[in-house]
Symmetry: C2
Subunit: 245 residues, 2 copies
């Protein structure tokens, strides 16, 4: 099956690179403060980033003194811009679907991924691969769109006639699989899966769960951007920290 | 604070004892097949059931050859009926709020609880207590109403004008705490907490997560009771299996 690569559609990519998380980097991402808190000490570690996009997490890992960082992404647009923003021979970018890339067993101390796995058909397969790539005791920290958020195709609030947000609608939660969702200039294909599938796949692959987060925007962000208070009405993201055990 | 004890209100109790799960026991409970699957082998085990209600799980544990079973419940109505249905000197019923009851350290091999913890203010405290009561490697398996289900006071579908169920509304997810919810003949007070609070409290108390389930009705139940198909549109229950590690 052809892997979806909307980020190499130039209109879509241009809209993506205008988002706060693309312009400002990690500080522009509402969930970054929670993701950062779950990361282990990266000093001297060999780090893999699956779905590295513009390379913000890769560069962050090097600022935290990671020994080497490998970023994998399917989009040549993404990687070209990542390379332009990176001046560091210890960061390697690889253009590949993350389902297809292969590394030796126990090649990494830490594997991270930010908002990429909801584009992947089998999270079970990803969990097994990441577990193989990690050293014993290695950390796997990743974010995805929350299962409550991905359940319906629409991924939107339920509004009243005046356009007020009444509540967040959930439906088809137990029907895992493809969702066709509007995002920026296009419709993108995502995979909805349940909370239990995320957690049980990790455990079955050989991970121990260390923590999960359903982050809210930081107090600072809430005071700067009051419209973000609706983000407390339902979780948009899920972050899981697990360890190979 | 006075613990809520609606089950000793006779009208409420009479409505409760008419529910399929009260009349038919475990087979009448839509989530039982999933709960049962997560239970460890109970043979020769010392089992504690927190919020044992009519004692169905206690008697099941003895059928599975548990050495002894202790059931705790706040309601004298519940325990009176449980005792009437029980003819087994290895089952002990204790009338107490589960927050107040105390046992020696490492007194049990298995602690179970069915749909009771959403009545308890602090799940953190429960997790710590249960961890103390369990032997090393002991199992903790419990069900609660799903965080997606308890978020709003109403705990009900969103309907169109013809009374059709449009979707399940979520709101106030991140605002943990009291919810005032219609149930049977009364309003009951429940505590909403997030998925992350359930999981992280267990891990911090010293548990390792073995599996979580967001059960659907069994195929058999779906074919007998077609109106239960809506239960696949959102999860009503959350079951967690954890181990003292």
């Amino acid at each position: 099956m052809m892997k979806q690569n909307k980020y190499d559609d130039n209109d879509f990519f241009s809209a993506y690179t205008s988002m706060p998380r693309s312009v400002k980097g990690l500080e522009g991402a509402g969930e970054w403060h929670a993701f950062q808190r779950l990361l282990p000490n990266l000093q001297n570690k060999q780090v893999l980033d699956l779905g590295c996009g513009l390379g913000w997490h890769c560069r962050y890992a090097r600022e935290q003194l990671a020994r080497s960082v490998t970023g994998v992404d399917l989009s040549s647009n993404m990687l070209q811009m990542a390379r332009e923003m990176t001046d560091d021979s210890s960061i390697t970018y690889i253009q590949s679907a993350m389902e297809d890339v292969a590394f030796p067993d126990r090649a990494f101390d830490v594997v991270i991924s930010s908002l990429a796995f909801h584009y992947v058909a089998s999270f079970e397969r990803i969990s097994e691969k990441v577990c193989r790539y990690l050293k014993e005791g290695g950390n796997f920290v990743f974010s995805v769109e929350h299962p409550m958020y991905t359940a319906r195709n629409e991924q939107d609030w339920h509004y009243d006639e005046q356009g007020n947000r009444l509540h967040w609608p959930v439906d088809r939660y137990q029907a895992e699989g493809l969702r066709d969702t509007p995002f920026l200039t296009a419709h993108v294909t995502k995979y909805h899966r349940t909370m239990s599938t995320y957690i049980n796949s990790l455990i079955r692959a050989g991970f121990r769960i260390d923590a999960i987060e359903e982050p809210m925007p930081s107090v600072e962000m809430l005071s700067k951007l009051p419209e973000m208070k609706d983000e407390c009405r339902r979780p948009m993201f899920l972050i899981i920290s697990a360890r190979k055990s």
